[in-house]
Amino acid sequence: MLRTQRLIARQVWATAFKNRAVFGLLIGIGLLLAYAAVTGWVSFRQQNETGRRYQQQARQDWLSNPDKHPHRMAHYGHFAFRPKAPLSMFDFGMESFLGNTIFLEAHKQNSVNFSEAGFSTGLLRFGEISMAMVLQLLLPLLLFFVGFGTVATDRETGTLKLLLSQGVSWQRLLVGKSLGLLAVMLSLYGPAMVVTGLLWFGLQSGQVSADQTIRLLLLMVAYFLYLNLFCVIAVLVSARSKTAKTALVSLIGLWLMLTLVLPRASQALGSYLYPAPSKAKFLADIQADVLKEGDSHNPGDPHYKGLRDSLLTAYGVDSVQKLPFNYSGFVMTEGERISARLYNDHFGRLLTIYNQQNRFSKAMAIVNPYLAVRNLSMALSGTDFASYVDFQRQAEQYRYDMAQKLNGLQIELISNKKPGPTDKPYQIDRHHWEEIPDFTYLSPGVARVFEHEAISLLAFAFWAGLLGLIAWRFTKTLTAI
């Protein structure tokens, strides 16, 4: 009996492609997908090329330093350039709002600079065209345009009565109509995913990891489910509406609600309720805490006075100049330890506030499949906030290790006596610069996505279940006129 469904599905497909406007829209969306693929590819290449070039140059600059005092090197510092993940060409996500260059030096946590948004004319706020955006935002609307009349038009023309009286059950009718719409959807989803797969493969230059494969497959599944959902919604709303026009207006209203109003409103609510500190306040608070605990740059600071006294007692000497190691290196190690810990505390608190701000739009995923797929897709593509925080943490860890390594070299290799006015400044050999490895960003495994996006995953399960339930109920209560 599958034949009935197939027949109905084929009718939906044929009507859709016979309609010139719909056909035009399909072509339009196809072209947009192609445009998105090209720009995604190009900007991926551009940014990663720039990042790689300057990462190498920064490294060469670092290595070509002559013999120096290690603390000079600690201020010479290094750069971390954030690489784009391969799937970022599919879903730009937050990419454009994230900085991509950070200068790493001793005692100072610099900001991650040069986000695309900072250089934008304001155009960016209208959004970007990525393949993900087309699939999340435009394809559902197209499905609504194609699907609003599937049942309602039949009802208006009286065909529905005929169909049902001929023994076609509601269940078969709805399944058939949904399948037809699904076929229309696949005509764009299919090519988009093939292109994504090819680009994804091309961008990894032949070295495909299991992690990336899982990400890509999950993306495909998520979008397939998501778009399916919209096919079914279109058919169900059409089945519930008296006229095709009402169905269309309801579907458009729903689409606007899901994609335009709810996401903005929920995020606005979050940022309204949980104000984040200004940069000035954030930095001032850290400084205040550092001063409270111990200011390594202040000779009279009580914390360091205590430290000095205990060292003097331990080594049985009466002045720091007589200690068998470089005392100021020791002080800086302690200072770096304290200030990095305090910075991380404050940064953690800031992230908590941001997470609170994002809480509503994350929770909304339960009622809004658009947000669910959006959050999940960004996470899988490595263009979400969690990936960015991960980069920041790795950069900070690198900075800390670099500073402490150089402090260690100073403690060990620099004389503890103050150089006289005519002495040559103390230096260590340049081969030590090689002891500090270059910064390489390791992208976190896909398991992290499950941690961060549990709500979105749950939302998918919930929506799939709910739809099945509604469809089942509808088959019992719907009428032909």
């Binding site: 260059t101 304001g122 435009l138 960015y388």
Partner: protein, 450 residues
Amino acid sequence: MIRLAFIQFIRSGGIRIGLVFLLAIGVTSLFVGKQFAQRQQQGIADVIQFQQTDFPRQAAQHRDDMGLLLYYLKFSVINEARPLTALAIGQRDVNGSVQSVTIRGLEGQKYDADLTNPANLLLGNVDFSFVLVYLFPLLIIAFTYSIISNEKENGTWSIVAVQSRHLLGFVGGLFLLRLAVVMAMLLLLIALAIALLDIPLDGSLRLFLGTSVGYILLWFSICFWVASLQRRSSTNAILLLGIWLGLLIVLPAGVNNYITVRYPVPEAQATTLAQRKGYHEKWDTDKTETVEKFYAHYPQFRQVPTAQMPTDWRWYYAMQQLGDDESAGQARELRQKLEQRERASRTIAQFIPSLHTQLQLGELARSGLGNQLRFMDYTGQFHEKMRLYFYPKIFTNAPVLTEKWTAFQVDTFTDEAPIHPLSTLGPLMLFIALVAGLGWFRFRQTIYHL
């Protein structure tokens, strides 16, 4: 008859829901703007507070070493937000309104990013400009998409056509009626905004209002044109939503992709790297050569005597200066690239009225890239002023405590760049005339197609 039409229009449930919904979001957007303004104020208060406590503390700690003190002190400049900024937040949430710089190398500090939650930036603000640019058109579409087609579908259009002496005038009347309701809504929101945000009634506001009115007229003319095609309601709805989608999502986003790819800015990284190298390698090169280069840049300091200090601050600040001097080329290229972006998007925007409206509202509210570039320039001038003021004091190691540190106020940049009403309103008016004219022309042919 128009009176009856009005009663019929306003009594319909969907229309009322639409109006109430838009009013609610409109008022919300004003509160979002208000909160934005308050956070700006708070940010400014924070930086003033910091400067007031940090300067005396640092001065006391480094009281015999002017050079070391100035190594630490951060002077702040504020990009003044106008009350109007709260209506069109634009890029202000991306680019911080406060820049804090020490007198060391500028290029290493100028681009420091503000603290932001990217999720907020990504989803965008619900500010008044969003309500105007995105939601008002939807309301207009909902009000007008079936003006004639609905009558036709209900079979009442022929009665109307027969009874009306001047049918096109009657149709025009129906549109004007809806226009009046939407305009009343706009004016109500603007009036509330003026009261809530203390917006001064100046030229900027008038132009802001003019742009808003123009934008609404544009959408009415688009709807008028679509009605003139005499299609079915659902076709009208799809067509109008398609236009909305094109003007507000697809075209602007497409242009954005184009500009990003066409004008990439690797100059940003180049500048930073050059600045670091320019400064740091001077530690290992000849001291007199560095100082000579510095004197070549600032001949006026050659005469200033240098005090004997454990640290040679003149050399140190000369190195910092050379970091800036040697990255000046890259910085200029970066600046040019950004100007190219700004120019390109402006030129393209003239042909996409939604984009033009948004960019102009941003310009009027001083929240666009233009404002940011001018603010960066001003920060540069401010930094230079501070350098020139302190260099002689550092070189002579002037006594720290004779300087009145609490007198250093936070500086404010007021954007006074002129805005020409014609370039703001011109493109909009052209589009309105074009589309409305097209609709009128078409209607004359199709109005009696029953």
